[in-house]
Each structure stands twice: as structure tokens, then as C-alpha cells.
């Protein structure tokens, strides 16, 4: 399998007036094309920092990050999905979806056609002229995902995209997003603090330590490949995997 993302001995240190904080220490992993890798760990451990490195917003202090074989700031192949949908209230839903295309100066008409197709495919046809405030939380999150997908990224970075939703919507949107990612054949890195969500969506889950963040264990859950989230939760292996991840997270001595 071709690796789309590689981290090789990546370290990152934040400097503030008060101190020097090592955030990432010696992170090495890779993500193959079409893989869905979850990052779980205590809050504030640097999960989001890893996504920022992949998207090229920041650079590592030492070590190498490559996406598609190149430094991320030189190749624009990742799309980002944030914790909240961050739809702009003064733009229509279509206006919001086209935001990225406008910024990257892509062909408006082509992007619009693609957006129409995606909206139709994911049960959102007819909302393009409406404003985000008229949509439910789940629909808003799907519009946000289409805003990301329409730019045709090869990698999607998900930064706790479900944490702002209520429980019921959350279960549904997890399923929706899983289907969307699988159907578009996306490679994705998924940051969450919810172990359930990580197991229900990913092929592999990296368990991270608290700061300075390193990978404690890479848990393989490829046995669930092709099984949708709602069915994964019913498998007996689900609890065993949950326990394995939780124990690794809690074990600080190793």
C-alpha cells in the first residue's frame, strides 16, 4: 500500500515567554492510501498539532513530515474538518461550500456542479439557496464536510468533528461521515477523545500519551474493515478493543 502520510521522528516544541514546551516527541507513523487512522489521547496532548503538521499550517522542530511524498506546505492535498462546522452565517449553504474554491481560485462552475452532485448524493438537495441557520446540527456538519470534499483533497483531517453535536445526532453523523469518506475513497486522520467513535470509524487507532506526546501503541482494528459504525458497536470484539485502548491510555508507566 502506498503511504500518503509519513511522520519520521517528528518533534515539535512550542515557545512561550514562560517556558519551552515539548509538544510532540519522536512521532513516527504512516497512513496508507484509503486508510482511516484515529488518534486518541488525553485532551491537550497535541492531537490537533499533528493535524496542523499534516495540513502544513505549522512545521516540525525536527524530523520529517511528508504528504504524498512532499512537504505539506508544497502540496495542497489535504482538507480539514473542524470541531464546529464554522459555516459563515452571511453566506448561503452553496456560498459556504464554494468558499474553498473561491480562495483557491478554482473554476466556480465546475465546483458548483460537483457540489450539486454531492448535495444530492447526501440528501441535502434543495438547501443550496438556504442559510446555515435554517439547518439542523447534523445537516450543517454534512454541509461542512461537502465544503471539504468539493476541493477533492486526497487526505481529510477530522478534528473532533462530532464533539459539538448532541448524542443522537452524533451517532447518525458518525455513520453519515463514515459512508461519505468510504464512498469517496478518502484517506483520513481522525482526532477524537471518544474511544467508541475511534473504534467505530477507523482501521487503526494510535493511542497517544499526555504531553510531550508520543505514540504509546498502534491498535489494529482492520478486522472491522468494511463494517459500518452502527454494526461495529454490536460486535463482541468492540468491548475488548475498547478495553485495550482504555488500558493503554491509563497506563502511564510504560
Amino acid at each position: 500500500m502506498e503511504d500518503l502520510i509519513t511522520f519520521d521522528k517528528v518533534c515539535l516544541t512550542y515557545h512561550t515567554k514562560e517556558s519551552e514546551t515539548p509538544v510532540l516527541s519522536d512521532i513516527t507513523f504512516s497512513v496508507g492510501k484509503g486508510e482511516l487512522v484515529g488518534l486518541v489521547g488525553p485532551s491537550g496532548c497535541g492531537k490537533t498539532t499533528i493535524l496542523s503538521l499534516i495540513s502544513g499550517i505549522i512545521k516540525p522542530t525536527s524530523g520529517v513530515v511528508l504528504t504524498g511524498g512532499l512537504p505539506p506546505e508544497k502540496c495542497d492535498i489535504s482538507g480539514y474538518m473542524l470541531q464546529k462546522d464554522e459555516l459563515l452565517p452571511w453566506r448561503t449553504n452553496m456560498g459556504n461550500i464554494l468558499l474553498g474554491a473561491e480562495i483557491k481560485k478554482l473554476d466556480r462552475q465546475k465546483t458548483r456542479e460537483k457540489a450539486q452532485a454531492l448535495l444530492k448524493k447526501y440528501d441535502l438537495a434543495g438547501v443550496e439557496k438556504h442559510y446555515p441557520s435554517q439547518l439542523s446540527g447534523g445537516m450543517r456538519q454534512r454541509v461542512a464536510l461537502i465544503r471539504t470534499l468539493v476541493l477533492a483533497p486526497q487526505i481529510i483531517l477530522l478534528d473532533e468533528p462530532f464533539s459539538a453535536l448532541d448524542f443522537q445526532t452524533r451517532l447518525q453523523v458518525v455513520g453519515d461521515v463514515y459512508n461519505m469518506l468510504r464512498e469517496e475513497g478518502m484517506t483520513a486522520v481522525f482526532v477524537t477523545h471518544d474511544i467508541n467513535e475511534a473504534i467505530s470509524m477507523c482501521n487503526r487507532v494510535a493511542v497517544l500519551s499526555s504531553k510531550p506526546c508520543r505514540i504509546k501503541k498502534m491498535v489494529d482494528i482492520s478486522e472491522f474493515n468494511g463494517i459500518p459504525p452502527s454494526e461495529r458497536r454490536l460486535k463482541s470484539r468492540f468491548l475488548e478493543l475498547y478495553d485495550e485502548i482504555l488500558t493503554t491510555m491509563q497506563n502511564d508507566t510504560e
Binding site: 499550517i57 464554522e86 459563515l88 452565517p89 452571511w90 468558499l99 480562495i103
Partner: protein
Amino acid sequence: MNYSKEHIRYLKRLRGKKAGITAGRIAVVIVFFGLWEALTALGALDSFITSSPSRMAVKLAELFTTGDLLYHMGITLAETVLSFALATGIGMLAAIILWWFETARKILEPHLVILNALPKIALGPVIIIWVGAGTSAIIVMALLISLIITIINTLQGFLSVDEGKLRLFKTMKASKFQTLTKLILPASIPNIIAVLKVNVGLCWVGTIMGEYLVSKAGLGYLIIYGGTIFDLDIVMTATVVLCVLAAVMYYLVVAAEKLISKKFKFDV
């Protein structure tokens, strides 16, 4: 519509309450002017010192027929509108520049705050000497009063744009100019309108103060002139006219706010 009886009663009560409030507002004005008129007619107030509504009406008619009223009103109005436009335009531009250049912002921040705290009227004599006792001195006065606070408040709005949305723009690798035009400016519209509302009032203050200083024409001049010759009818009439003009201009901004908020889907 198919409303329940209870709902119809509720709507009626609501309308009744609203009508009551409007009537109350009008009553305050009537009582105020009525009392004023009555007290001066009874001799409880000396109309030479306080003037009276009837004497003001006579003066208003007189000033109108001589053409003085429209002349002075026109001048004050033009000065206020011009300084309002200049303060808003220059203030926004300055705020954008300070948003763009972080170091410049940090250097200038304390100076802006101090300038804002300074009572600008203290600069009156300097303004007269530098730009001459004319319209330009009045505009400069009004600008001094409104510009600094416009810059400070607009910039504050720019800097308080939601962190998450800024991150979204960063992940899309938006340029600084794109971030400005597609995020900072539209997101700041409610704040900018609030600034405009404050600005309208400040520009009136600046213009009238400028007219006091320059003393050549305008409603401010009329008030000072009336005071000097002890004609309180002129003073009071000019003040009431000023009141009405300021109210009209304020409500124009409020109307603009409603229109813009609707277009940009902001809650009023």
C-alpha cells in the same frame, strides 16, 4: 388565520400594550412643552430667561421666512454629514491597516488610548491657528472627536472574530487579503454598525463645538449668537431644531442597520 380565542386575546393585549407605550411617549413630549408654556404664561417662569414654546414657534417662523433657519441648518447638516463620512472612511481604513500590521498596532495602541482620553476641545485654539477659522476647523474638530474612538472600536471588532473561523481560513490557505475581505469585514458588520451609531452622535458634538469655536455660521453659531445678545428664543429654537436633526440622522442609521442585518442574516 385559525387562532384560538386565547391567542386572539393575547394578540389584542399585546397590541393594546404597544399602543399604550406609543401614546405614553407622545404624552411625555406634550406634557413637557405644555408645562413649559403654562408655567411661563402664569409667570412662574421668566420667559425672558427660559423662552417658551409659543415664543419659539414665532421665532421659528421668523427664522424660516428670513431664510436664516434653512441656511444655518444646511451648513450644520453638511458639516456633520461630511465629518461623519470622513470619520467612518478614515477610521475603517486605519483599523484595517492596524489589523494588517501587528507590530504597528502594538506600537500605536497606547498612544491611541491616550489620544482618546484627551478632551479634544482643549485643542480648539491650536486647530484655529493651524487650519484657520473656517469650515475646515469645524471638520477637524468633529474628526478629532470621532475618529480615534472609531479606530479603536472597529479594530476591536476585527480582532474578536471567531478563532475557529480564522482556523478554517488558515486550513484553506487563504491569503491575508482573502481573510480580510471574506471573513473579517463581513463578520464585523454588526460591530461596524454599532460604531456608526456612536459616531453619528459624536459628529454632532464635534460640529457644534467647532461652530462655537469658529462662530461664523450654523446652528452652533446661532446658539452662541443668541446667547451673546441674550435672545433665549433663538437659543432654544436652534437647540430644538438640532435635537430633531440628530434624531432623524440616528434613525437613518438604524434603518440602514435593519436593511444590512437582513441581507447578511445577522440578528438585530
